[in-house]
Amino acid sequence: MLLSGLASAAAATVVAIPGIGYLAAAACRKLKDQVDWVNLGPVDEFPENETRLKTFVNPLGQPWDGITANTGVYVRYLGRQSFEHQFQVFAINCTHLGCPVEWFPQSGLFMCPCHGGVYYANGDHASGPPPRGLYHCEWRVNSANQLEIQAPHLPTLQRTLRADQPVRG
């Protein structure tokens, strides 16, 4: 009796430890800690005060992601301020429920096809259901005068793409 109890407890433990370990690791695969910078090309490819959709293969994915690793961001070049290039880089995802917003240069607005959310050119919320403006990506201009951004994960309201960004804006 005691022996069979001990034996089954031992069996359960040796099966459970690797099993639970695998599940926990697979279920909560950690977002990579190190930051991946993606090169979006030379600064002078971005005309001033215009918004461009830039696409790249997201390094945060798996090798077997195929075209789903393609990622788009909207880049707006604001020109130079005190000799520094100024950019705004927005994730394509609507802050309402993540649908891909589209840029309309004629009216200078981003519009969302899902529930009709609208944003201004500077990313601020203009109208419709979204609770805040578009998500901003971290960007920098490297020494070769090329625009780089931090590879964006899927942004959500509580985990935006910028640590210092207020949750509501």
Partner: protein, 490 residues
């Protein structure tokens, strides 16, 4: 010869001994009559589930659950694999029919009060079966790895991401990685093929066991109240004295109805063909216009129409509340009248729920708040508004019409009911608003980030003049334009 083989096996397995009493168990006599047709929806759902298992296994032989190959394998199924298109089609249409029949079955049980004593647990497990069915519908939609699937996961993750505190963790669990990709598809495959079907079969076994144990309820009679103290002995007596064996008349109805359903579903599948995949799941493809499959359109509409302040409640609390309400049904009322004629509240509730769901589904289907992304600017301004016998526009007004088209106004506003419905129809706006009011509305939008964006910065003064000049003359023929009370009448 066959008989001998059968007897040999049966003696060892005890099939007859075990299953014959189940098949022969007595059911209320009315079920042998025309009223028995009320009882066929559950077994038909089960039949469709069997089709889902078989077609699902078939599809899994070809489908590749990998983000870079899934779409291609679906195209292969559609166009190259013999009968692949039909299998996909049948799997889709049969799943739709299964959702419908599960709902019909549930509605019938609710209206007839069959969930009351002693069948409360059967209902509770039934609610879990409904959730499994919807879970299969959602995860199945994701396996159709096209833009709808891709953005559907995005919407699900964005909703989950709003859960206080736990949000980001739930998003990780759903996606399996930082972005929607291979990890995401793998886990939805595991859910769709192993986890949820396993749970479904488990609950199904309990559901059927409970039906055998507690018997099938008799059709409700007005005035015959359920009283737990006396119900069992009465039911026992009725079925044993007057009941009919299940495997006589009643089972025939089940078989006939299931057969009709199968024939209908196969017919629809053959004519309508498989659903999608609509396009490769490239998240950077412009013009994506994601829509969920029909069982979720009502939620999609609700999310578009609800005010932002109520939204978190609708996303996070409403689903939980709905499920709890369904689970609570037999716990709140497990006795008393069963006949719908004596339960007006129950009947009204059903009418209310289906009207709401139907209206929302229709709205979600037409999605009038956002016309197809490429449509609105290319829909020309209706000719009568530009040139007719009674109306000739000045060059400035014509320019205004062009501004109106170019600035995507038609995404939200319709002219002659063509265009978006998020903002008001502007066919007669000149009758409602003066020049000043229009300039104010267009440049400042709805104050406080309401329904209309402020166009002040996206429109030049010249464009504004032209636009407003065009809008103010939009009045019904012969009607006077709007004016403010203080304005001098010329």
């Amino acid at each position: 010869m066959f008989k001998r083989i059968y007897d040999w096996i049966d003696f060892r397995l005890g099939i007859r001994e075990t299953f014959m009493p189940m098949l022969r168990h007595p059911v209320p006599r009315e079920i042998a009559g025309p009223l028995g047709w009320w009882y066929v929806f559950g077994s038909a759902s089960l039949t469709l589930f069997l089709i889902q298992i078989l077609t699902g296994i078939g599809l899994a032989l070809t489908y590749v659950p990998s983000a870079d190959q899934a779409y291609e394998s679906l195209l292969y199924l559609n166009y190259q694999q013999p009968w692949g298109w039909f299998l996909r089609s049948l799997h889709y249409w049969s799943s739709s029919a299964m959702v419908v029949l599960v709902l019909v079955h549930m509605t019938q049980v609710f209206l007839h009060g069959s969930y009351k004593y002693p069948r409360e647990l059967t209902w509770l497990v039934g609610v879990l079966l409904l959730l499994c069915t919807l879970g299969m519908a959602f995860t199945g939609q994701v396996l159709r790895w096209d833009p709808d699937a891709y953005w559907g996961v995005g919407v699900g993750a964005s909703m989950a991401g709003r859960v206080p505190e736990a949000g980001p963790t739930i998003v990780d669990l759903l996606l399996g990685g930082a972005i929607i990709g291979g990890d995401t598809l793998s886990r939805f495959f595991a859910l769709h093929v192993f986890v949820i079907p396993g749970a479904l079969m488990f609950f199904l076994a309990i559901h059927l066991w409970l039906i055998l144990k507690r018997g099938i309820s008799a059709p409700p009679k007005a005035g015959a109240r359920v009283d737990p103290a006396t119900y069992d002995s009465e039911y026992e007596r009725d079925t044993h004295e007057h009941g009919v064996p299940f495997n006589a008349e009643p089972i025939l109805k089940d078989i006939i109805f299931s057969a009709l359903v199968v024939i209908a579903v196969v017919g629809i599948a053959a004519v309508a063909g498989p659903k999608g995949p609509s396009a490769p799941p490239d998240p950077t493809l412009p013009g994506a216009n994601p829509r969920p499959d029909w069982p979720f359109l009502w939620l999609f509409a609700l999310l578009a129409l609800s005010p932002p302040s109520a939204e978190t409640v609708i996303m996070l609390i409403l689903p939980v509340a709905l499920i709890l309400a369904l689970l609570a049904v037999p716990l709140i009322s497990n006795r008393g009248e069963r006949a719908p004629s004596r339960r007006p509240v129950a009947v009204l509730l059903v009418i209310f729920i289906y009207t709401t769901l139907g209206a929302l589904t229709h709205l979600g289907h037409t999605a009038p708040w956002s016309p197809v992304m490429t449509a609105w600017s290319s829909d020309p301004i209706p000719t009568e508004l530009i040139a007719s016998k009674e109306r000739t526009l000045s060059p400035l007004q014509l320019q205004g019409a062009v501004v109106f088209q170019n600035k995507q106004c038609r995404n939200c506003h319709s002219l002659d009911s063509i265009g978006g419905k998020r903002g008001p129809d502007l066919t007669h706006v000149g009758q409602r608003m003066t020049t000043d009011q229009l300039i104010d509305q267009v440049s400042n939008g709805t104050p406080g980030g309401g329904n209309m964006p402020a166009y002040g910065k996206q429109i030049s003064p010249a464009e504004m003049t032209a636009l407003v000049d065009f809008l103010t003359q939009l009045v019904p023929l012969g009607a006077a334009p709007a004016r403010t009370p203080t304005q001098d009448v010329p």
